[in-house]
Amino acid sequence: MEIYLYIALFAPLAGSLFSALFGASPKTSITGIVNSGLLFISFVSSSILLNYVMAGHTVHVEMMTWIAAGDLYIPFGFVVDQVSVVMMMVVSIVSTIVHIYSIGYMDHDKGFNRFFSYLSAFVFSMMVLVMSDNFLGLFIGWEGVGLCSWLLIGFWYHKESATWAANEAFIMNRIADLAMLIGIFIIYWNIGSLQYDVVFADIANLPMPIITWIGIFLFIGAMGKSAQFPLHTWLADAMEGPTPVSALIHAATMVTAGVYLVVRANPIYDLIPEVGTVIASLGAFVAMFAASMALVNRDMKRIIAYSTLSQLGYMFVAAGLGAYWVALFHLMAHAFFKALLFLGAGNVMHAMHDELDPFKMGGLKKPMKWTWILMTLASVALAGIYPLAGFFSKDLILEVAFVEQHYILYSVLLVTAGLTAFYSFRLVALIFHGDERHLEHGIHPHEAYNFMLYAMAPLGVLAVIAGMVFKTPYYEMVTQLLPAIEYHIHNHTTFWIMTIGTQLFVIAAIAYAYKKYAKAVKVDPKVESGFLYQLLYNQYYIPKLYDELFSKPYRELSKIAWKQIDLKIVDATVDGIANVIYRTGEKTHTMQNGNLSSMLRWMVIGLVVLLVLAIAFTVGYNAVTMRAM
């Protein structure tokens, strides 16, 4: 089985290196095909491992020693257990599909080969992250995905907005990573090992405050990667990257790393339910907060990005309340339909020549029939309509909140579910229904390549069946490792009222969205200029606030440091030294006049100086020794 582990892990790296060979040369379709093939091989290996793990085994290998210094021993160890295999499956499926899709999407791009190199490198990093058997290996993968995300967001580096977004993402992640690193340090300091099994076996013996601090710091790390408030702004800006990147990184895989970390560290969080409650509350807040911003946004990709943010909030609610398997389940289901949604958006963008404002689209359902079907499917799944994936995973989270008697969280999540349905179908309605507004802009949309649609099809299938078919086997497998808590509302009447109520609420939201946007778009200036609309449209003024609060003072500080400190002190010192030497040279170069007589005179002056020094030294030395005696 180990060989499959290595294949699953290193096939993406091989692909990345292969593409990197052609990185500087113009498009060669072989890179796309080879990389997709290798990713598929990785997927097949993951499937074999899944089969093996389902049978109740786990694979744990120690590839080689990484750090062995004193008491510190960290191997390159990898583990395939019930949790990591789920992540491996999600990552490999979505990334394989995204790779194939990208062959079509990046068809005309100059950086075709470079793109595939980055994309496969990202998958490799993600595989390291989920498969590592210790915190430091996870951190390496963590940084690896951060780096690849930076490379991919800033893929079109000639665009200033892209580089800005890439840097923003990277810097925000650094802030969080620092906290995570501190958490890892605390773990090592108190336990003396970073291996998951050792840490989780010993964690209960630590004093409570230390466990709490570990939990908090690790969660701050997770907050950065999963873009939770207040480190959320980067995710929406990260949509500057190519759309397949958004599908792969900012929907399906990287942003779920934070959730994975909390799920993986469940023995820690089990001991500190207070922190869990905070996590859950923050998750619920982010779910609603992000969904509300998605309501009014006019950028297709940003809307989907806010939706991702909102769904990550859901996952954190589940994880925070101790329903780790539910969080992981929603992570999986969400990955499928969110990737599908993004890829569909990519098709639309292609058709609309990179137009992102859905108000300039409309009526695309005729020319882009399959994209319409797939995106509607994904939106239905996202909204959580029975029997699609979202119903099983998202409603489960609602039930968790209810069963755990967190009624406030429950109601927040319920409202958010309605908002989710509304903004999803607002988008669908604006893009695919109504007047063909794009004709005014002289755009004639066309459907994407067939193979791209074929590549998306498996995601469509998964979005439909993931909940219904996978739930029971998934539960049986994962609960071998995660706490097995069944969340059932025992009262049948309550259960049915809740389920049907939620469904009706969601359907009502969908219907309202269709009614408002499907026919003709009436823009009400009164609403648009209203405070609430402006507040939501400007993302609660948080980016502005950050700009005022951090960026501007920092810029001012940098200016001061530049003009006052660097120019006036550092540079002046360096220049001064250089000037002194230069002027000394100017003055003294007459010494080198080649006249031997004057040289002899200088020699005598040197002799006199040396004699003076000799006397001074002797006198000083004597004085010191006298005093010592």
């Binding site: 004057s598 005598v604 002799l607 006199v608 004699l611 006397i615 002797t618 004597n622």
Partner: protein, 195 residues
């Protein structure tokens, strides 16, 4: 008492002679004063019991070195008054006086002249020349040989540098070349004018 008189006398004479050497504008005076100063210095050696050194001083300096300088002077035609450009004579004297003061200060400070142990004590039972012979051919044999080689090298260098065409071997030359060489040798100033 006698020693003191002798010391001061010879000191005054030496200083005077050397001052003349340094200050005079007549090369011949300088040479003569120099030779006299060397002889007076040998007097100090005799006073200090270094008889052999005194003799060597007279033979080598007054005999060989001064003779060499005398020949050199004949060669350079320095019988006429020297014309030398003077630059800042005050600075020169100031430096000289400062250096003298410092050296004197260092020399008379007790730390220099105390705490010295004799490595090769002077044996009172044998004469100075004999004692020097013992030391020179035992402890200082290698430096002595090296000095000998150095003198040889200096001699060869002196001959090669001063002698005309000494770096060429007559036995390896053809007849015409030798004739050409002797032809140019007869009128060296023509050749020098070319430079």
């Amino acid at each position: 008492m006698f020693e003191a008189i002798a010391f001061y006398l010879f000191a005054a004479l030496t200083i005077g002679m050397f001052t003349i050497t340094v200050m005079t504008s007549q090369a011949l005076y300088a040479l003569t004063a120099m030779a006299a100063g060397m002889i007076f210095i040998s007097a100090f050696f005799f006073m200090l019991g270094a008889d052999f050194l005194g003799v060597v001083q007279i033979i080598v300096y007054t005999g060989a070195v001064m003779a060499l300088y005398a020949f050199g002077m004949m060669f350079f035609d320095t019988t006429r008054t020297l014309v030398e450009k003077r630059e800042n004579p005050r600075i020169i004297f100031l430096l000289g006086v400062i250096a003298a003061t410092l050296v004197v200060f260092i020399m008379i400070s007790p730390i220099i002249s105390s705490n010295i142990e004799a490595h090769y004590p002077i044996d009172a039972t044998v004469g100075n020349s004999q004692a020097i012979g013992y030391v020179l051919f035992t402890k200082y044999l290698v430096p002595f040989e090296v000095a000998a080689v150095m003198l040889l090298v200096a001699m060869v260098a002196g001959i090669v540098l001063a002698g005309k065409k000494m770096d060429k071997s007559l036995t390896l030359m053809a007849e015409e070349e030798i004739a050409l060489m002797s032809a140019t040798q007869t009128k060296p100033h023509d050749e020098e004018g070319a430079h």
